[in-house]
Symmetry: C2
Subunit: 521 residues, 2 copies
């Protein structure tokens, strides 16, 4: 036990040094995920998957509370289904994994070697679902006959595949996990209400569970889901001042109902097409959580979603006292594990590995566990614990009586959750600017000095709230010149919403809408 300890410290590089590389290193050091040998596909490691399970549990409860039921539809979509909605196939055709054969047999490979090669060619290729509107639409067409069958409110938890050319763990991967809600309604108004309701659920989840402030509103046509009449989104503000589209809710009108032939007899016995919606969030949210909360020491987890709320690190240097220390810690673990916290019990890891104390502490800091308890014989003598909070500096520790800690742990976690939200909120506020001239707009998004690729936050400007006349060509030109797009036309009640009259800052056109512009992921 007197061996020198190889204490691993903070993340290299820091955010300021190289933000993109910092992100990858946080994902790695926190053991959230890693790249696989399969192009663009990630392995979600246990700590990352437990986080996703907690997110799923909270979201799933919200979906069920709003009347939705889960179901499961085929992974494969016949090519002819995808072709049914013209804009839809246009949007996804360039990034599809295509199944063309259904077995392997010995043969000559592309490189001339003998080995197994695809055989049993399919008459019609199958697409690995990039999203399921068309395959779920085929079921809806069977399930919906009468107005009595509506609304039909379905959600699916699934994997989807989009063959992205540039991938990045969680943020953009070829395969990702998500949920996709699909609903059908008798009227336009009901479908629009559903679209708005689920957008509100996403905003609630992002803010109150992930501690990630979001703006919410509609997308411009350029950013719309292929085939949708209107796309709504939640947009989160990352530490490098870029925006992240964190969830979308689509009003699909009757486009997909017509493509899939979802029809019903209304109360007057008239045959009508249904009105449909779809909405989804994905493992991308984990990327957003990292870029909202992580720091130069690694991950920082919002307590309400953390796979473990607390880690107990027993000090076992004295072999005589080690069994007593361990037993005391196990008892504490058990007692804490009986406390309710946001729909589950407080989860406590006890790390008794034979590993240097400094290594251990840093591993848990990097993993982002909210509370660390270091407990040795002297703490036990005083019936107290030595507590460190992940949202404070790594050396800031506090002795607390055991009973007091047990009585206040829920409140401490709540305080951390709130502090994380407030910090992110303040960061967004500090880098959001109301802009009224094109010159100011350009300056806001233009670095004042030459910058290197991946250089830190300040080069990206932030959220610019600026009035815009809605012209698509203008938006395309701004995107081209500055890499900046309209992230969101805020809804009433959203951050950035302002309905007072304004002139377009680019054209001077009157009655322009104030929208949120930013660079984005």
């Amino acid at each position: 036990m007197s061996q020198p300890q190889k204490v691993q410290t903070a993340i290299t590089p820091t955010r300021a040094e190289n933000y993109a590389e910092w992100y990858q290193q946080v994902v790695r050091a926190a053991e959230l995920a890693e790249a696989s040998d399969v192009r663009g596909c990630m392995v979600i490691k246990p700590w990352g998957y437990a986080l996703w399970e907690n997110m799923q549990r909270s979201l799933d409860r919200m979906f069920k509370d709003t009347g939705h039921r889960n179901a499961y539809f085929p992974l494969f979509i016949p090519l002819s289904y995808l072709e049914k909605e013209a804009e839809h196939v246009e949007g996804f055709a360039k990034e599809c994994a295509v199944v063309t054969h259904h077995r392997l047999e010995p043969g000559k490979k592309a490189d001339g070697r003998i080995g197994l090669v695809p055989a049993g060619e399919l008459q019609e290729p199958l697409i690995v679902r990039p999203t399921s509107e068309t395959i779920i639409g085929a079921s809806f067409a069977k399930w919906v006959q009468s107005y009595r069958d509506l609304p039909l409110l379905i959600n699916q938890w699934a994997n989807v595949v989009r063959w992205e050319m540039r991938t990045r763990l969680f943020l953009r991967t070829a395969e990702f996990l998500w949920q996709e809600g699909h609903t059908a309604h008798a009227t336009q108004a009901e479908a629009e209400e559903e679209t708005a309701k689920m957008l509100a659920v996403y905003a609630d989840f992002a803010e109150n569970w992930m501690a990630m402030p979001v703006a919410f509103g509609s997308k411009t046509a350029a950013e719309r889901f292929p085939g949708a009449v209107e796309t709504f989104c939640i947009e989160a503000f990352m530490q490098d001042r870029k925006s992240l589209q964190a969830g979308t809710s689509h009003f699909l009108g009757q486009n997909f109902a017509k493509a899939s032939d979802i029809k019903f007899l209304d109360q007057n016995s008239t045959l009508q097409h249904a009105w449909t919606t779809s909405w989804g969030v994905s493992t991308r949210l984990i990327g957003g959580m990292i870029m909202t909360h992580a720091d130069d020491d690694g991950m920082v987890l919002p307590p309400r979603l953390a796979p473990a709320h607390i880690v107990i690190l027993p000090v076992l240097r004295d072999p005589e006292k080690a069994p007593m220390v361990l037993e005391w810690c196990r008892k504490l673990q058990k007692e804490l594990g009986q406390i309710d916290y946001y729909g589950r019990k407080i989860e406590v890891e006890l790390d008794a590995r034979d590993l240097g104390g400094g290594d251990k502490v840093w591993q848990w800091i990097k993993k982002g566990v909210p509370i660390r308890l270091e407990i040795g014989p002297r703490d036990i003598e005083k019936d107290s614990v030595f507590m460190a909070r992940r949202d404070k500096g790594p050396k800031e520790k506090l002795g607390v009586a055991r009973s007091e800690f047990i009585a206040t742990v829920g409140a401490i976690l709540d305080e951390m959750q709130k502090a994380m939200y407030d910090k992110a909120h303040a960061h967004r506020a500090a880098h959001t600017k109301s802009i009224t001239t094109e010159a100011d707009f350009r300056a806001f998004f233009t670095p004042s000095r030459p910058v290197q690729e991946n250089e830190a936050a300040e080069i990206h400007g932030g959220f610019a709230i600026a009035a815009y006349n809605g012209d698509a060509a203008l938006e395309a030109r701004i995107k081209d010149e500055l890499g900046v797009t309209v992230r969101c036309i805020p809804n009433e009640g959203s951050f950035g919403y302002d309905a007072s009259p304004a002139n377009c800052i680019f054209t001077g056109a009157p009655n322009a809408r104030r929208v949120i512009w930013a660079k984005s992921y």
Copy 2:
């Protein structure tokens, strides 16, 4: 409300008339699943998926209680990975969905029309995972360096694809949902212990949650998982007297560790290959549940896994009293919904649809909900409910005081769970025969009269417990002649275990092991 009611009654055909068709009709009438237009892929409908979610929740808790953590690995397996383990690829090559292209572009289709065709050919084809030993092995090889990293205990919930030629809802589908446990250990003994432990978890789940009695033991070489050293299984007994392999646990030895290069430094700093296991159950279990419990009226759900324990059917014929009846029912629903039952709350559906009472009752009978409560103004006057249990006849109803029902509902459900298990257990006992001569064996599995395809139970014999010398050629011949195989070499403690000396009933060889023979799914 005086319209004639179109009352749908029992399943057509009955089990005795056409067992295979009866099965399909139960799945359909219970709204558990349906076929999709994608060959061999099913749609799991909300009632079926909720059942799967309950099964997942119980199993997941058991996996976590035995130290396993969930993670997620890529859907796609490079062909070269699959080729690493010779027996493994041999076992799966004939039924693989193969991804060969990564986009679509306009071109000439096979039928001469112009449309989208596969483009962007991959250098190496990707296989949609039929099982994940090889892709998970690649991660394990990175994660395992030292004995300190072992045991590595991972589980994955996922979809898998096997291009089966003859499919059947739940029992055999091209895509299915499952969990696959994958573990790595430092010693053979530990890996063997893990294999046995998870087999016991499966048996526990089948018997105590699904109310489905199982025998458990090892497979003969012919039925072994491709690449495994030994495969263990749980085998359930269906109402048509066939056996269903309901779960498997594989001891993989060092085969996959060698194929994937999973090596560790042991305590003596010697580099060794790890010992691995894998184990899985799938949505096939739902097929087993149906064929164990469903009757000629439709599905019968074991209370511990039922998506809803109770359905309340308010009698709303009198429009003046309807609001009062509804409110009374809602209050009851809420109160019942606060009662704990096996890790969740009692779940209560309130079916207030404007639909004939007879139709409604039969829909819920077919869905298999354990308890139906019919409640009208007169019941409310007496502060009582009219209760029907799914395991009794459809007309057997009982008036119970509201307070008594609330106080005893948990006990009633427990009683039903036990009754279902006992009934299945008795059915298996009635059709299990200890057989000591080949003539008796052949007679047991040979119908006494000409039978039609899919005809009922009695043609399949049942479980024959018969001593066998272990010769693979003999087993192959019996399979060929009678369609009967060794389902399981029972472990100590299993149904059918008998270690007393016996001679092979086919060859007379001494010291033969008594094994379970049956026809199977």
